[in-house]
């Protein structure tokens, strides 16, 4: 594996991790909000 390929793999892994992190945080916030709303019903 060339250094270029290695750098590309790192870049893509980082990009995917960031997106996945954002998605997970978003769902945490969403479920918190849903729970609060449901408790008020």
């Amino acid at each position: 594996m060339t250094p270029d390929e290695e750098a590309e793999i790192k870049r893509r892994q980082k990009g995917r991790n960031i997106v996945l992190g954002i998605v997970l945080l978003f769902f945490v916030a969403l479920f918190y909000a849903i729970t609060i709303v449901r408790m008020g019903d």
Partner: protein, 312 residues
């Protein structure tokens, strides 16, 4: 990554943008619009957080179904110019990853819909994903030239799901919203199929103009448009909306029918610019947006007390 050959590309972890492309974001935007309109037009109120969750799940479900569709059709997509650059046929994504992604997205959308909104909604959503990914994509699309009619059913679910998120039950109105998109899809798509020479035939997908011929396709466009007019006006006739929607639906649908007539009764000449077909296709998109916007406007007018006689 264009310069990298597919053997190398497939050993690399896929870029997140390729997963995003798998969800067909442009189709998703129309799904979000009609789903949101169904939600806003329904009688009653819904908490904004729950409403947002419902629309989000409709979008996630559509994305999951689109991913499953591309997983199944990767070989077909590779053979067609329009789709050859999608992540799977271009080799930027492994096929198994697309399947996993589609299943996770679909399951997530159904579970979140059930927990957050309503299990009846989750059931309809699951049904719509199954309908698109299995009944349409795998079973009927490669087998019948009526595939567009059947595919239209998949696109018709979102406003129904949006409506049921508010009311919690399936009544005549969400079924009528379903029927409107169902009958709208064939004239919309076949108008396009008449002037865009696609390479579906090359990969063995039976599209109506190729299988039944141009003349038959034109007549069928007229048939579905004729059925669509009363269906589009029906929400008003059954008392589900006010006169504002009724008037808008009547005018828009008659205009739609008016544009269908020249398409139905002409034959293509050599060097034909296909203006009537292009006009019909362009208007069909505007029509659907305007009709659903009118539906929402009608509900808001009723809520403000500007119109009378609106029932559920």
């Amino acid at each position: 990554m264009q310069g990298m050959n597919s053997a190398v590309a497939s050993t690399l972890p896929a870029d997140w943008r390729d997963f995003f492309a798998l969800t067909k974001p442009r189709v998703m935007s129309l799904v979000i619009f009609t789903g949101l309109c169904g939600l806003l037009a329904a009688p009653g109120t819904i908490n904004p957080v729950i409403g947002f969750t419902a629309v989000l799940c409709i979008a996630l479900g559509a994305g999951g179904a689109a991913a499953l569709n591309q997983w199944w059709e990767a070989d077909l997509d590779a053979g067609m110019k329009r789709t050859a650059s999608r992540p799977l046929p271009a080799g930027r994504l492994a096929r198994g990853d697309a399947l996993t992604f589609g299943i996770i997205l679909s399951s997530l959308s159904v579970i979140v819909m059930g927990l957050g909104v309503h299990w009846l909604n989750a059931l309809i959503l699951a049904l719509s994903i199954f309908y698109y990914a299995v009944i349409y994509t795998i079973w009927l699309k490669p087998r019948t030239p009526q595939n567009i009619v059947i595919g239209g059913g998949a696109g018709a679910f979102p406003p129904m799901i949006g409506w049921v998120a508010v009311t919690g039950e399936i009544t005549l109105m969400p079924v009528l919203l379903f029927a409107i998109i169902f009958f709208w899809t064939p004239p919309h798509f076949w108008a396009l199929a008449l002037f865009v020479k696609s390479d579906y035939a090359k990969v063995g997908i039976p599209m109506m103009p190729v299988v039944a011929g141009e003349r038959s396709t034109r007549r069928q466009i007229l048939f579905y448009a004729l059925v669509m007019v009363p269906v589009a006006v029906a929400p008003w006739l059954v008392g589900g909306t006010g006169a504002f929607y009724g008037g808008a639906a009547l005018v828009l649908s008659l205009a739609f029918l008016g544009l269908t007539l020249p398409v139905a009764f002409r034959t293509q000449a050599e060097e034909d610019a296909m203006r009537p077909e292009k006009r019909l296709f362009g208007f069909s998109i505007l029509y659907l947006f305007a009709l659903f916007a009118a539906l929402v406007a009608d509900r808001f007018a009723a809520a403000q007390g500007w119109a009378q006689g609106v029932i559920a």
